[in-house]
């Protein structure tokens, strides 16, 4: 676990770079986390997914997997990979400041 200054705020990150406390997240933090992952700028479509991820996390305590995202977010899987390359569920969760989805078990 490390403490880091992101967008002027002190936040705790775990070994994989996920926020330890989702309540430390705000939109400026998201922009900076995305930039570190090579996503700059965040488009409206990115924000749609990020907001969906946070709502899902608040409702269910875990972020959705890629397949569930594709079925429920209104953004098709193919596009999710364009927006968040390699692992959309993982990367979108990281930028949304929520824990890594637990789907991988």
């Amino acid at each position: 676990m490390t403490t880091d200054t992101i967008a002027g705020a002190q936040v705790e990150l775990n070994d994989e770079g996920f926020l330890v406390d989702p309540s430390q997240w705000n939109e400026d933090v998201a922009v900076e986390l995305a930039r570190r992952e090579g996503i700059d700028p965040l488009t409206d479509r990115h924000w749609e997914v990020i907001r969906f991820m946070r709502a899902e996390y608040e409702a269910k305590g875990t972020g959705p997997t890629v397949r569930v995202l594709g079925k429920t977010s209104g953004v098709p899987v193919k596009e999710l990979y364009q927006l968040f390359p390699k692992g959309p569920a993982k990367l979108a969760a990281k930028i949304a400041g929520i824990p890594k989805p637990r789907g991988c078990i």
């Binding site: 997997t65 890629v66 397949r67 569930v68 692992g87 789907g103 078990i105």
Partner: protein
């Protein structure tokens, strides 16, 4: 008299029904099990079918015969569950009322959800060993296979028994050597994960074993499409969502899994994929206290595996009794899973873990038990012997000596145990 309805007559449904019947008399509760067919498959046996090491008649038995005689067995499809009325409507129009409903209908394969997969090459060039017919078809294909690229692909998690695709790779390496064609085959394991397995210590160990056996590992590959070649002599290509490609002559694909279709027709019962969310410790549904789920059908953060279902079964039976008696539920499932990993050449490795503790070296269930995280002939014998315990001990709801619901810690590497618990 209480009415207990159990949907599914597989591992979870059968052992839950038999465990409940052992402690609730026929005057206390009527127990009904519903399933759509009469084929109870010993699913761990499917892994061996493609290599001619097991045959379907050895691993399939009638469902009804695995149930205690004071349990009603109905062979009929399920239409839907109504949690408000506490009823199950069956495919023939019959309506069953319940005081407790146990959902144990497992997972179903959905190869049609991957574009192109069920096209003209399905069961010709690409196969799955996750269902009995596919396992038999693959056995024939492997018998005729003369060389080229053999690709094993997990499309997406969750899947049943996440170690089985790795075991398939290890056994294929052994089988191809027996056939004398290992040097003519490129064997590749293609996974959506960032390593060979989900848990870090085991992932490193299993990744190392793939390397030792000359099996290539392709990670973070999410198959979006399968394209079959028009030529009968060529296989096809897996294409990922981010446009990477893996060519194959013969593909072994583990398709995406969903819950049973009726779950989707039952308002509020399941999640987006048709699995039933339940409390990860009590196995009771948040949507209705009268509903419980176990095994592959349940959405809990643990592998979909027979051992998990077995350990959940003990907790579920106790909690159903408590619920019917109006007592608080306190029996608590800890996420315990235990898997033999067949590694070829009559050896196997054993892993044992739960929600908080990842698989660690040591011995199971105690300091003089089977070696953990290490290949041994003893573990292979354990894996083979287990089928006997499955039919004669696990399904009837008897305890297996030394093996309990709660994960044992006595035989585990202490230093690593402390570290694992600290990071959980």
């Amino acid at each position: 008299m209480h009415r207990i309805v159990i949907l599914g007559g597989g591992t979870g449904g059968t052992l839950a029904a038999n465990r409940l019947r052992r402690t609730l008399s026929s005057s206390e509760a009527a127990i009904t099990v519903v399933d759509q067919d009469d084929r109870h498959v010993y699913q761990p046996g499917l892994l061996f079918v493609p290599f001619g090491l097991a045959h379907l008649d050895e691993i399939v038995r009638p469902r009804g015969r695995q149930l205690h005689r004071d349990i009603d067995y109905l062979q009929v499809p399920i239409d839907h569950v109504d949690m408000e009325d506490r009823t199950v409507t069956l495919g023939d129009g019959q309506v069953l009322g319940y005081d407790v409903l146990v959902v144990a209908t497992g997972a179903v394969l959905a190869p049609e959800e991957t574009e192109g997969l069920t096209g003209p090459g399905w069961n010709q060039k690409a196969f799955t060993f996750y269902d009995p017919d596919g396992a038999v078809a693959l056995a024939q294909a492997l018998e005729w296979f003369e060389g080229g690229s053999l690709v094993v692909n997990v499309v997406e998690l969750p899947i049943k028994c996440p170690v089985a695709p790795l075991e398939f790779c290890f056994l294929a390496d052994w089988f191809l050597q027996q056939q004398g064609i290992r040097d003519k085959v490129d064997l590749t394991y293609v996974t959506p994960l960032d390593g060979a397995f989900t848990k870090p210590v085991a992932s490193r160990r299993l990744g190392g074993m793939l390397q030792e056996k000359g099996i290539e590992l392709v990670t973070e590959f999410n198959t979006g499409e399968v394209v079959y070649s028009d030529s009968p002599d060529a296989g096809g290509r897996l294409i990922s969502y981010d446009d990477r490609e893996v060519a194959f002559d013969l593909a072994v694909v583990i398709p995406v899994h969903n819950g049973a279709a009726y779950v989707g027709r039952s308002p509020g019962l399941g999640d987006e994929l048709g699995f039933v969310p339940v409390d990860e410790h009590t196995l009771q549904s948040a949507a209705s206290p009268h509903v419980f789920a176990l095994g592959d059908a349940a959405a809990v953060p643990v592998s979909k595996a027979g051992s998990v279902t077995h350990f959940e079964g003990e907790v579920l039976a106790e909690n159903v009794r408590r619920f019917l008696d109006d007592r608080p539920l306190d029996a608590s499932y800890d996420g315990h899973a235990n898997c033999f990993i067949e590694t070829g050449f009559s050896k196997a490795m054993l892993i044992d873990f739960n929600y908080d503790v990842e698989p660690l070296p040591g011995r199971f269930p105690g300091p003089v038990g089977l070696p953990l995280m290490k290949e041994s002939h003893l573990n292979h014998l354990g894996k083979l012997l287990f089928q006997w315990f499955y039919w004669h001990s696990l399904l009837p709801g008897r305890d297996i000596p030394g093996v309990h619901s709660a994960m044992p810690t006595a035989g585990k590497d202490r230093q690593q145990l402390v570290e694992s618990e600290a990071t959980a």
